[in-house]
Symmetry: D2
Subunit: 341 residues, 4 copies
């Protein structure tokens, strides 16, 4: 039996506070064609930490959020959406300088080819400033989850580090979702510098192999190996590392030496994004429920599979019951989702 | 009989070159509700000078364009659209710095209440630089039409003035469509400075009463009268002034002393924007055809009426035949559209 | 007899309002060596329009100023200096954003080789905004003198155009001192655009042949001829053109057809700058005194000669009596300073 | 006997690499008056890490430097000066974007009242980028000394963190000289975030009590006590903390529990700055020589006293022999400079 190595402050009011961007996704209704030829779009809440917030709220967790939205119809839409999902919006700032909320227009050319056209100039989410961060809010939470994109630019970057300082001070666990997006960053060395600073402070780190390589470019540039990554960050505060390898699934390391291989449930893919956010929220849910790591990982993989088969990244987030039902439905296929090494 | 006072270089290859922004309009499919509650959007080409380009191409004119688009799916969509409409795209730059094309999300709350949510941060259209302007291109055109929004920021501002210098040098007529939008401008005095510079160089000026007031804030701040405006700008290069008064219609002045009142055709309004672009393109068409001003104005008013009754600002631009048919259909109502004073 | 072609509003309180930068010059005390090897510097007021202000104050004229200085010791030094010279400082703004006053470190390598090391980043003088310009102040002056460098960047650029609009409205004469400096400008086309706009509004234009070429790059790029320049700008508001040809002296054109060649008085040169500011102030003084143009030009040339032989550009500005004495002293040399063609 | 707790890689080629700004000081020759009334200035090399470099070179150490200078006469002056002092300039970048070297005009109103007028807009020193940092150079040094001002803005901030990552990787000791200057920083929380990141990585930290308070504003805001500071940073990599208390002298803590009080030698003050840089270089010299901490601190205090009695911050840096002579001269006064608690 593998015990899950994170220990949560059970008495705290808020389960998790994702921190970072809330965006609007415009998903084209006509799929399997280039965006030059699509005509209509449906709007959804998007942005990795926002998706995770919705994901965890659907799973019944008490979810807060630290972020910044635009002072317009889209910003109000986002607030309403969160409120309806039961997410606490008391720590979401409204930018008064006219900064817009970020947009993501998705293009699904085929089952495997998809891309995103981003509107991220002067976005509201990167306007959140250190002064806005409430020490009290973070002190009342079990976990804060930092999205790496929030580190890409001042003042959001410093706001994240302030939040992490408060989290360390009050033993709020830090989950670092590397979530690398090239826009806003000025250089790859800048990425390495701030990602490694965040990683040193974090209790759990989630990212793709490529994201770990970026992060480790200064510290251990030659490695590109999951076990070296694990050793590197376990030397600081990390307890669990999740390293994703695309279609190959993910490898999960714990500080006490366990290693798991997690495979994807076979589903008919609609799009190639959104799965990671479902995975993160379901994994964190499992750990918070006190489940063993194996069980949590299977649950995470199931949620990810359900997500990539649907049209949105937020509205399609499943409930715990739906995920369990999905796993039951797949049981007879004798799938080998999680293996311990 | 009132002769139209502009004389066009008949031998020139291109009829008109609008200069300024090409944008993408996202019109909500669900109307008569706030944007917080709309779910799907249909995309169209937008931006006042782009709409005018489409309008004049539909009317059979040879249309060029000077502008700058994004190097992405939306930019290519715009180029394809123009090409399909028969508009020459040889002088449309493609920005290589990652600037996005502007977006306009329309919100139609009721027949009279509508608003536009703009994405104009770092937009490609304002990136056009003086170095890009081709003297030869302008020399080959009868008319360039400058959209005032293109004056709102460097380097597009200077690019416009360079284009106007070339136009003056080669006797290409300049139409100035004031087209004021508050974003991008830094102060109202800045607006007055550059609008009056452009107005002094222009042969025809089109704008609302409010736009003329803004433009004249330094020169004759107290006036706010159409006849003072006419005297002010006729002292320079202007030959025709079109001053719009919202639902009251527009007043049109010519340097040789004629004054016309133009009323709107009664139609069931769908939205309150786009009519001005149809008006400008149809009026310019009439003048280029050598029609008398009265006839041209009635034609312009008809095109505007057709536009405000439809869902888009570009795709709905009518052909000459359609406008004539619309006028014929209204004939029995004994409407008094154009009156000379 | 050639009458001077400018007519001044004799009743107005202020003779001249230069507009543009006030800077601090640091002139190296050790001369004829590269700046890498100089150790001590003496500080003076500098900046072309500031020098002209001091020049005209020394000549007994009532001088105002429109500009912006830093809120620090150097800014206060400049204000004190102006006050002591009798210059009205009521329209000099004090920047509150922390912008520094510009600095110019001079390097005199030899009698003919000298250079200036500039500190112009974020300078206070370019922070003057359109809102600061007082219509009343300009209305009370005979002449405003615009330094071309003040056109190089917003908001100073727009402030100048607002001042020129007010000047035109109230028949205050506009002298345009092209005064081109490459820093702050973004492109040569930008220079041409704004210089030609300013030139069209001006009653007198002063500049070197190279500066006229820059200004005319759009309007008549091929010319580079003084008589073409004269014809170009006399078509608008200009009455007098002063075109400088370095050591060859200057050519002066008037709208009524007179042409003068002005040579330099022979003196032992100490530095190669500052002469132009002395020339401009002495010429304007002569014209304001109602002198014929010939006499004014000889006076201007004398003042310029005195300046280039001294260590500073402001403190060394001569009085009218000193200039007349200088001319008398040179009389026996039978010099031929001003020739009419 | 107190052993000094830092251990240096004796075999390494370079003793110390200060990193940060090189500036030019303009010290007024006329003292004891406001700068509005000073006329001449003498120029010197300045900037805290540059002064320390000169200080250690004078003490016979092998000194490198990581920084960025302007591509002009002042930049070349700085390079020449360093070369003449025997400092290795191979890792000093020359900015090609036109950024100026920083200037500091000193104003000495009285023995106790002095101020500095800074020119730091767009300065070259903050342009050093992560890409410029040589891992090899840092690997060959015993110590790098990071000036806190170099953390105030990108890309210099990231360049410093890259240098610190390389230092940690190769066991090059890191000395962090907090050196807080308000300009360039955007907020006090930003200061705390980056100062505490740097402090966690550093082996020795030097700053005033106010600087430690700033740095600890997130971590232990209420403390403001030297022993709390010591405990805070000894929990990471720090071995020695120097906390300055102005005229009261400084308190020095070591990780193994020693605490020293260091007083100032009595001298006739000429100016109130520069002493700290002499102190830092002499202290580091003593430690590198293998001296006990007491002896090193007395030596540091002596060097500081010599500096504040002279006109410059770099040219006046003493040799080891001069410092020893100064201490001998003061011996008969029975001064109690260093006391252990």
């Amino acid at each position: 039996m593998t015990l899950n190595s994170l220990s949560f402050h059970e008495s705290r009011e808020i389960d998790v506070i994702p921190m970072g961007r809330i965006a609007i996704d415009f998903n084209s209704n006509e799929i399997f064609r280039p965006m030059e030829e699509t005509n209509t779009f449906t709007k959804y809440i998007g942005g990795s930490p926002a998706n995770i917030a919705v994901g965890m709220a659907r799973l019944g967790k008490k979810v807060g959020f630290i972020g910044c939205i635009s002072d317009d119809q889209f910003g109000r839409y986002a607030l309403n959406y969160f409120t309806n999902e039961g997410i606490d919006t008391s720590n979401i700032a409204v930018d008064k300088s006219g900064a817009p909320i970020g947009l993501a227009f998705t293009e699904i050319k085929s089952e495997t080819e998809s891309s995103i056209l981003m509107y991220r100039d002067n976005v509201a989410d990167l306007k959140i400033s250190p002064e806005y961060i409430s020490e009290e809010y973070i002190k009342n939470a079990k976990v804060i989850l930092i999205s790496g994109t929030a580190l890409s630019k001042a003042p959001s970057r410093e706001a994240c580090f302030v939040a992490m300082e408060y989290a360390k001070k009050h033993n709020t666990l830090i989950v670092f979702d590397i979530d690398y997006r090239p826009y806003s960053w000025k250089s790859l060395k800048e990425v390495s510098v701030y990602y490694s600073m965040a990683a040193r402070m974090s209790n759990m780190i989630i990212g793709s192999r490529e994201e770990f390589d970026l992060m480790e470019a200064l510290v251990c540039p030659e490695s590109k190996s999951d076990s070296v990554s694990a050793n590197t960050w376990f030397a600081y505060n990390a307890e669990i590392l999740v390293i994703k390898h695309g279609k190959e699934g993910s490898n999960v390391y714990t500080k006490n030496g366990d290693v798991f291989k997690v495979r994807a449930f076979p589903v008919k893919l609609l799009k190639s994004f959104g799965g990671g956010d479902a995975y993160a929220s379901a994994l964190l849910y499992g750990l918070m429920e006190g489940w063993e790591l194996e069980k949590s990982l299977e649950f995470a993989s199931a949620s990810a599979a359900m997500l990539v088969a649907s049209h949105s990244c937020s509205a399609a987030m499943p409930t715990a019951h739906e995920i369990q039902q999905f796993i039951l439905d797949k049981k007879d296929q004798n799938l080998d989702i999680v293996t311990q090494y």
